[in-house]
């Protein structure tokens, strides 16, 4: 049986797709056969972030409607042979997704894969609900910012009440907090909510902190999951996240400000 992980947030633009791509790649790189599914029907972007946008032939909706087989729709990653991408449909309506259809696709994937990462769309509508419905684990991506924290809390309520595990009275979904776009410098200046602040409010297990980093935009520009940029802070932070998710005891990094020289301290340059 595969473990189904939903990457969700409620709010848009916080880094769900970046995170889905990074974590799926990280799990695959560690040798686990992993599928990553884009649930954002009509606004797909996972293909772009993964750099396989020109190889999309069939998509999730085609598979649900039995217009193609799952095998035909899955795109094998060129950098890691354990990773497969199932894109969302760009032309269909959001209502093309059905709970039954998604369940069937996940069941079929479960036979063959170790991890299934579901990249949820923003919002709390059908796509987002279906992305989290079958999940075993939820990674709640949050920015240290009021709107994002509030929406994450709302999403936690939905995970606890509307998921399959909740409706069937099973063991609840395991929820993890992933704080992204974190700037230790701004936290120190009192301009940004700290890790502790966000944890106080959401009381979630902290899976990791991803620093606000130029490498994320660089990676998406090139269609390379940022976790493959092993030199970058964000890439390393995602590697830590994956090992922590797999149960390794990896200490948190990038939470505190780097030491600066006297010159930059006096003149505030970066």
């Amino acid at each position: 049986m595969a473990r189904i992980i939903v990457v969700t947030s409620g709010k848009g633009g916080v880094g769900k797709t970046t995170t889905s791509a990074a974590i799926a790649m990280g799990l695959a790189k560690k040798g686990h056969k992993t599928a990553v599914i884009d649930f954002d029907v009509g606004l797909r972007n996972l293909d772009l972030i993964m750099g396989c946008e020109r190889r999309v032939v069939y998509d999730l909706v085609n598979v649900i409607n039995e217009e193609s087989t799952l095998k035909q729709a899955l795109i094998k990653d060129k950098r890691c042979n354990k990773l497969f991408i199932l894109p969302a449909s760009q032309t269909r309506d959001k209502d093309a997704l059905t709970q039954e259809g998604v369940g069937k696709v996940l069941d079929e994937l479960s036979k063959d894969f170790k991890y299934i990462v579901c990249d949820s769309p923003a919002g709390i509508e059908r796509g987002a609900n279906l992305a989290m419905y079958y999940a075993d684990d939820a990674i709640v991506v949050t920015n240290p910012e009021v709107a994002s924290v509030r929406d994450s809390d709302r999403m936690l309520g939905i995970l606890a009440s509307k998921s399959r595990r909740a409706t069937n009275d099973e063991e609840p979904i395991k929820e993890y907090l992933l704080l992204t776009r974190y700037s230790p410098e701004r936290v120190k200046l009192g301009e940004m909510l700290s890790v502790e602040d966000v944890q106080d409010i959401l009381s979630l297990h902290l899976l990791g902190v991803i620093p606000d980093s130029q490498s994320v935009l660089n990676a998406s520009n090139a269609g390379i999951p940022v976790i493959l940029d092993e030199e970058s802070d964000a890439g390393q932070a995602y590697q830590d996240v994956v090992s922590r998710f797999l149960g390794e005891n990896t200490p948190h990094r990038f939470i505190n400000e780097e030491k600066k020289g006297l010159f930059s301290r006096l003149f505030g340059s970066k």
Partner: protein, 106 residues
Amino acid sequence: MSLLDYFRRTKPSTATIAKERLQILVAHERSSKHQPSYLPQLQRELLAVIQKYVNVDNEDISVNFEQDDDQEVLELNIVLPEEMEEKKDTEKDKKFSKKNKRKNHV
């Protein structure tokens, strides 16, 4: 951090303000998740009735719903204005609690 920033740091930080606002909001939204759906309308109608007799503002009335294991408490809280035509003493909150004992409520 530059030298200028060092002198500027006197007022409460925006992060502190953000945290306080969020704590209040999130607590409120969590508690309202479990309350019955008729509560907002009940609040509006009660307010309309009370305003017929007493001059109170919209903010001066609150309806809370709390749930323990086997009892639900509907609490109506009205802040009466200081000068009132009727001789009732003021500033004190009037509390009416309606206790509603029910078991196996969903």
